[in-house]
């Protein structure tokens, strides 16, 4: 009997095949090893980032005391928040328009809306730079108005992502539900609020997460639209790296990673919560 022999590997039990496991391990290694090294070395008690010299928290302290970096982080979060809010509104409206109406030039509108996604970032950056220069966009406004140029640039490349995700979600919507709401007495707005919006919600949340993270870690476009007083977090990190890669940079990056993970988790939890109470 094969009491001590393991059962044969069934066709779909991929995780029990050695080459498959090796493949998965390699994938995970290349994805996460650099991040883990980065986080590990943020605790390195050394000025240089080459040899491990013992554990310390002091670079996290240094990061928090670094006013320039903290100001940059504040800028980044403000921009990301504003860009996300506007992207949600614009993207959702665009998606609903493209889903509901038929009009001449619809394909062209859809195409141009996807343009910011496919155009190389460097081109977008240069285009934005020229655009704001031509407009003579004021750069000496008080905070947070001085972030307006960057925010507008971020909205431009963030809202198509929201629109695409919400549009995909709407494709699965049964229009009879909206008609049913109206049939039961709902006005156009009530039907939108009570039926269409709840249907779009997972798409909007996913789109918002995309927009927020895209805005938070964008470097290229921001680099071209930021001025001396409007440094964002990635741009600041870049300028720090140009002097030397200290554990302080590692610590700053680690903080960004933690922030992103935290926000994503909160958003997912929120979604579960609303689902459970709906």
């Amino acid at each position: 009997m094969n009491l001590f022999k393991r059962a044969e590997i069934a066709p779909l039990e991929y995780t029990r095949r050695l080459w498959m496991r090796a493949w998965i391990a390699a994938t995970l290694f290349f994805l996460y090893a650099p991040l883990l090294v980065l986080i590990a070395f943020s605790f390195n008690d050394s000025k240089r980032n080459i040899v491990w010299r013992g554990f310390t928290f002091k670079y996290y302290g240094k990061v928090l005391e670094n006013d320039g970096l903290m100001a940059a982080l504040g800028n980044s979060l403000t921009i990301a928040f504003l860009a996300t809010v506007f992207s949600i509104i614009l993207g959702t409206l665009a998606a609903v328009m493209l889903w509901r109406f038929r009009f001449p030039g619809k394909t062209a509108v859809e195409g141009t809306m996807a343009l910011p996604i496919v155009v190389p970032e460097i081109c977008m950056g240069v285009a934005m730079l020229v655009f704001f220069a031509k407009l003579d966009w004021p750069t000496d406004l008080p905070w947070p108005l001085n972030l307006s140029a960057i925010t507008i640039a971020h909205i431009t490349f963030c809202f198509p992502f929201v629109a695409m995700v919400v549009r995909a979600r709407l494709a699965g919507f049964n229009k009879e539900q909206e008609e049913a709401a109206k049939d039961l007495g709902a006005t156009e707005w009530q039907a939108f609020r009570d039926v269409l919006l709840p249907h779009m919600k997972p798409g909007i949340i996913a789109g918002a997460l995309l927009a927020f993270t895209l805005s938070l870690d964008d470097f290229v476009i921001t680099f071209f639209t930021s001025g001396p007083n409007t440094i964002t977090f990635p741009v600041k990190v870049y300028s720090m790296v140009r002097f030397s890669v200290t554990p302080e940079v590692n610590a700053a990056s680690a903080i960004l990673i933690f922030l992103t993970i935290l926000l994503t988790t909160v958003a997912l939890k929120l979604q579960d919560f609303t689902k459970a109470t709906a």
Partner: protein, 370 residues
């Protein structure tokens, strides 16, 4: 008996989509408290007509009155009708109770009243106690009951149902046909149902409007439609039928004869209102034809040689309760005959290639003028 009032009056309604005429000058009165069915093949305009009553489409011409009021320019959310959609359109993010309560909430009914009315409605469709379930935890049949309750709770003057049973399996559909008819009887609300399924229509309806290409082909009760169809379309659409072309050669008050090249002389013991020598059509239902071994047939109450045809069995399908035979007549024309399987034991076995004689009673043939 008091005269019933029309709750819906459809007056000369035409609906065009571009060049396509979906509904062509239709006039129907639907009476208070009746179970009315719009029956027809797909694309006949029945759903368009229903959607015009609900207010989702506007007539190109004509008028629709509900409770005596002209509905022109009245949007769906203002009309005293509610609809059960083909897909049920139950809101997936709301519980069963919230789905049913939705219309009441929108119209500002007080909370305690909403609760009692929702409970009542759920009880009515046998969903009592399932109010807290989410739609994805329900079966198809239960979702449909939610859609029903959601409409009924509004106490509409008319409940519109768009192909209400088409998504259910055969057993459940048969059961729901009875339940729907009973429900309608209990609540006394006028039901208007759209279906392409004749069994559904015949079993549930008080009256049926058979539609064809945007037109009402006939409006009558179930048995009238079956036994007295007005034209070939209705005869053919409702049930199974054999139709022969012929010429009206005798037409007197007490008798008529139609000469059909394919089946011989067809004798009727009643008159036909048609001009002499005009082309008419004779329709005979398969179950109204008697089949006997060759030479044994003798048509009672008919002159010699009338209402008799000889042929050979070319096909048969055993359906359990009846067996349907396809008989090739001497003229080459095939005709359908059905026989109930009355006994479990001695089935007189007609089989392939058996020679048989067919005959029918002089009341059986239906003469159609169009």
């Amino acid at each position: 008996m008091t005269e019933k009032q029309p709750v819906i009056s459809i007056r000369n309604v035409t609906k065009r989509f571009g060049n396509m005429v979906a509904v062509d000058n239709v006039s129907i009165d639907i009476l208070e408290g009746e179970f009315f069915v719009l029956l027809g093949p797909s694309g006949c305009g029945k759903t368009t007509l229903l959607r015009m009553i609900a207010g989702f489409e506007m007539p190109s011409e004509g008028q629709i009155l509900i409770g005596g009021q002209d509905m022109a320019g009245v949007s769906p959310n203002q009309r005293p009708v509610n609809m059960v959609f083909q897909s049920y359109a139950v809101f997936p993010h709301m519980s069963v109770a919230d789905n049913v309560a939705y219309g009441l909430k929108i119209s500002g009914v007080a909370k305690p009243e909403i609760r009692t009315r929702v409970d009542e409605a759920l009880e009515l469709v046998s969903l009592g106690g399932l109010g807290q379930r989410m739609p994805d935890q329900l079966s198809g049949g239960q979702r449909q009951r939610v859609a029903l309750a959601r409409g009924l709770v509004m106490r509409p003057q008319v409940l519109l149902l768009d192909e209400p049973l088409s998504a259910l399996d055969a057993k459940l559909r048969a059961q729901m046909q009875f339940e729907l008819a009973e429900l309608q009887d209990n609540v006394g609300i006028t039901f208007v149902t759209v279906t392409h399924d004749q069994d559904e229509a015949l079993s549930m309806a008080c009256r049926i409007a058979v539609m064809n290409k945007g037109d009402v082909a006939q409006l009558a009760g179930p048995s009238d439609l079956y036994e007295h169809p007005a034209n070939r379309f209705v005869a053919d659409f409702i049930g199974s039928v054999n139709i022969f072309e012929g010429k009206l050669t005798v037409d007197e008050p007490e008798q008529a004869v139609v000469d059909c090249p394919e089946v011989g002389r067809v004798y009727l013991n009643h008159g036909v209102t048609g001009a002499h020598d005009t082309t008419v059509w004779v329709a005979i239902r398969p179950e109204k034809i008697t089949m006997l071994p060759a030479g044994k047939a003798k048509a009672k109450d008919s002159p010699d040689g009338h209402n008799i045809a000889n042929g050979q069995i070319k096909g048969l399908s055993y359906l359990g309760d009846v067996t349907v035979y396809e008989v090739r007549l001497e003229s080459g024309r095939s005709i359908r005959v059905s026989r109930p399987n009355l006994s479990r034991w001695d089935q007189e076995d007609f089989s392939w290639d058996d020679k048989v004689s067919l005959h029918w009673h002089p009341t059986s043939p239906i003469v159609l003028l169009s």
